[in-house]
């Protein structure tokens, strides 16, 4: 069946001309060659709340990095004569001049309740100094210094300023909060990293191979998710040897937290894999003879990376709140470690809260960070998948 006849009937071999004149403005050209990441960033930038949240989160992590610098008192130093001091207001002006100071406190014992009460003495002004000297610490773990953001000249900051008051053992709450930031935020990060590795690995295997492996992994996820979390944590925390040090406990808690956390991510990854396997462009690559590994790395992974980033951002606040809850219940980090949960442990009984409400102040950063992470995650998710 040889065919030499001119094929297309009616076409006087007139080739259709080049499509479309180049009618693009510079702005359109910019969009035309923009990568998906750029488009995502442009969409994200329009999300005001998410942008602000992003800035807040960056600020929190900066605080975590420079915690000792921002603190002015040794967070571990106890002093019975300073127990339960109320937050102290800063006066910024002194006789019309900018000169931040606080009033010195005079502590007395109430003869009837035997509690120590503190009264400011307006005649004794304690001037605040920036970059003052205080207790010694290692700046970013690099070198030893004793400079702090604020302090008092000459005297000992720990005995003179109490921006957020003190706890029962007389430790300065402001300084403790700064340091607590570090552990609480990092444990979230570490937990998420661990669940990310587990989730991507197991979710990927599940979605890619399917069949019996998929069924097995899915059942494991279902079982893990059906266990009530608090009893599980209690059990695991109880199994932790009492003589473990702070670092060991910290590590164990991370593992416990990510044990549940990975299941969500694994489901996201599996779902994306299953959806992407059906995409035409993946089939096109297969037909073109592109190898399996390259298809995964070049076609599938970039398509769900943005989803994973969003999912991770949304998983972080869960980790943070779990740590706080665990530590609050006394199952997580234990003193001398300092985290928001550990700080809140002091606020466990109603009487303390009623008499010294400032002990609850550690709840404020928890709320702010959780909200910020949620807004950021939402913004990222919308930007990554505007149609999803």
């Amino acid at each position: 069946m040889s065919k030499a006849k001119p094929r297309a009937a009616g076409g006087d071999s007139l080739r259709s001309e080049l499509e479309e004149p180049l009618l693009t403005t510079a702005a359109e050209e910019r969009v035309s060659v923009a990568t998906q990441w750029q488009l995502m960033w442009w969409r994200f930038r329009r999300h005001r709340l998410a942008m602000i949240s992003g800035a807040v989160i960056i600020a929190f992590y900066l605080v975590a990095a420079f915690a000792d610098f921002l603190a002015y008192a040794d967070p571990h130093k106890t002093e019975a004569f300073r127990s339960l001091i109320a937050p102290q207001p800063i006066h910024f002006f002194d006789e019309g001049r900018f000169s931040p100071h606080v009033f010195a406190l005079i502590g007395k014992r109430d003869p009837r309740t035997f509690k120590r009460v503190y009264e400011p003495d307006p005649t004794r002004k304690v001037p605040l100094r920036f970059f003052a000297e205080g207790y010694q610490y290692k700046f970013l773990g690099l070198f030893k210094t004793n400079r702090h953001f604020i302090g008092v000249e000459g005297g000992n900051a720990e005995e003179l300023i109490f921006l957020l008051g003190t706890d029962q053992l007389g430790r300065d709450l402001w300084s403790r909060m700064m340091v607590a930031c570090r552990l609480s935020l990092l444990i979230g990060l570490a937990g998420v990293t661990l669940s990310l590795v587990l989730g991507v690995l197991l979710g990927g295997i599940s979605g890619l191979y399917g069949g019996a492996i998929d069924t097995l992994i899915q059942r494991v996820i279902e079982i893990l998710r059906s266990i009530p979390t608090i009893p599980l944590w209690m059990g695991l925390a109880a199994a932790m040897p009492r003589d473990w040090g702070v670092v060991q406990v910290y590590f164990a808690i991370t593992v416990i937290l990510s044990l549940i956390g990975w299941t969500d991510l694994a489901r996201v990854v599996r779902g994306r894999f299953l959806a992407l396997r059906e995409e035409d462009f993946v089939l096109a690559a297969e037909l073109a003879g592109v190898g399996q590994m390259r298809i995964i790395l070049r076609h599938m992974a970039p398509s769900f990376l943005s989803h994973i980033i969003a999912a991770t951002t949304l998983a972080l606040p869960n980790m943070i709140i779990s740590e706080t809850a665990l530590s609050f219940l006394g199952l997580g980090l234990r003193p001398p470690a300092v985290s928001w949960g550990v700080l809140l442990q002091d606020a466990q009984n109603i009487q303390t809260v009623a008499l010294s409400p400032w002990l609850l102040s550690a709840a404020i950063p928890v709320v702010i960070v959780i909200l910020a992470f949620n807004f950021l995650g939402d913004g990222l998710r919308d930007a990554a998948d505007p149609y999803g």
Partner: protein
């Protein structure tokens, strides 16, 4: 030079499909037990000659897309042979070969997709998309790939300057051109086009159809064209195969099939197409009932419950695809006696 499964046979057709079957199991319950089969493609045979266009038409669920995917081995056929003549002249049964053994000639069959949006990876530039098959086939030099991509873009009438853009900058028709350029990158002999214009606007459909006709003449391509729109099919095909519930009911040269259909389903299908001329508001044949369920097809001829010409025999006996005239095969017991109405060529 031969390995397992490669048979030498000197035949003209570029592709011959023999008794192809593809069933999908229906699974139920906790243990995912197989409780039935959807007979998506149920024992079909046809051949495509070099340089021609064969269209597979039918309504949704008739198995045309499954057939196309089986030929490309995107799906493994349940049974049957897909004999493909490679560029070297050997004939291989792609249905039987393990996936790894397919690699050396897989690039000779390429696909054009229906959806111009999901068929291009949104995270790759046009250059990367079109050059990927080249890279996979071992063209290491970027300069060479660039030259080839430029040439391919010109072939599909797109400006080579567009190479650095991402798919989101293009309209549906332009994306379809990019998809065609990718399919042509490795000089395939067979192009399987799965509804390549059905997602496009009317005024753009014509551009893509013309382009496909021109490319066929220029490059000597062979098309398997899968479509539901008979008007589109008329414009592109040399021969047409009509499918109904997993089976081919009629196959003939385009003109003959449209002018003198021999199967009542083909007749009804042709009659149902809304004609773009208000003066032709005619007495259409409107089929009653619904397309049979491929999981529980009726006995005998699958079309008999909706057929106006059905006789007792149609209820009990499945008609075989038989040649009623040279090159015209029909699966109908009454094909020789019925006179059916086709659509004449006008204009």
């Amino acid at each position: 030079m031969l390995y397992n499964g490669v048979i030498i046979r000197m035949v003209v057709p570029l592709l011959e499909v023999r008794n192809l079957q593809r069933f999908f199991p229906i699974r139920r319950g906790l243990l995912r037990r197989v409780v039935g089969q959807v007979r998506a493609v149920d024992d079909i045979s046809f051949q495509i000659n070099k340089g021609e266009t064969l269209s597979l038409v039918g309504e949704s669920g008739c198995g045309k897309t499954t057939t196309a995917r089986c030929i490309l081995r995107a799906l493994k056929p349940t049974a049957g042979e897909v004999l493909f003549q490679t560029a070297a002249g050997d004939v291989v049964d792609t249905a039987g070969l393990p996936k790894a053994a397919l690699a050396p000639f897989r690039h000779q069959m390429q696909m054009i997709f229906q959806d111009p949006f999901s068929s291009l990876n949104p995270r790759m530039t046009v250059f990367d998309i079109i050059a990927e098959p080249l890279l996979a086939s071992g063209v290491r030099s970027r300069g060479q790939r660039r030259q080839r991509v430029e040439r391919l873009l010109e072939l599909v009438r797109l400006r080579p300057e567009f190479m650095q853009r991402y798919p989101h900058a293009f309209s549906g028709g332009q994306r379809q051109r990019i998809g065609i350029a990718r399919a042509l990158a490795l000089n395939p002999s067979l192009i399987v086009a799965d509804e390549p214009v059905s997602a496009l606007d009317v005024s753009v459909q014509a551009q893509i159809l013309n382009l496909m006709l021109e490319l066929q003449d220029e490059l000597g391509l062979t098309y398997l064209f899968v479509a539901h729109d008979l008007s589109v099919v008329k414009h592109i095909s040399d021969r047409v195969a009509v499918m109904y519930v997993g089976k081919i009911v009629e196959i003939a040269e385009t003109d003959r099939l449209f002018k003198a259909p021999k199967h009542p389903y083909t007749e009804a299908l042709l009659s149902a197409v809304p004609k773009p001329d208000p003066r032709l508001r005619s007495e259409r044949i409107v089929l009653q009932g619904e397309v049979a369920d491929p999981a529980h097809p009726p006995g005998g001829c699958y079309f008999h419950p909706r057929c106006a010409h059905a006789i007792e025999r149609c209820r009990t006996e499945t008609p075989a695809l038989e040649e009623v005239q040279p090159g015209h095969q029909v699966a109908c017991h009454r094909a020789r006696e019925l006179t059916l109405k086709g659509v004449g060529a006008r204009r």
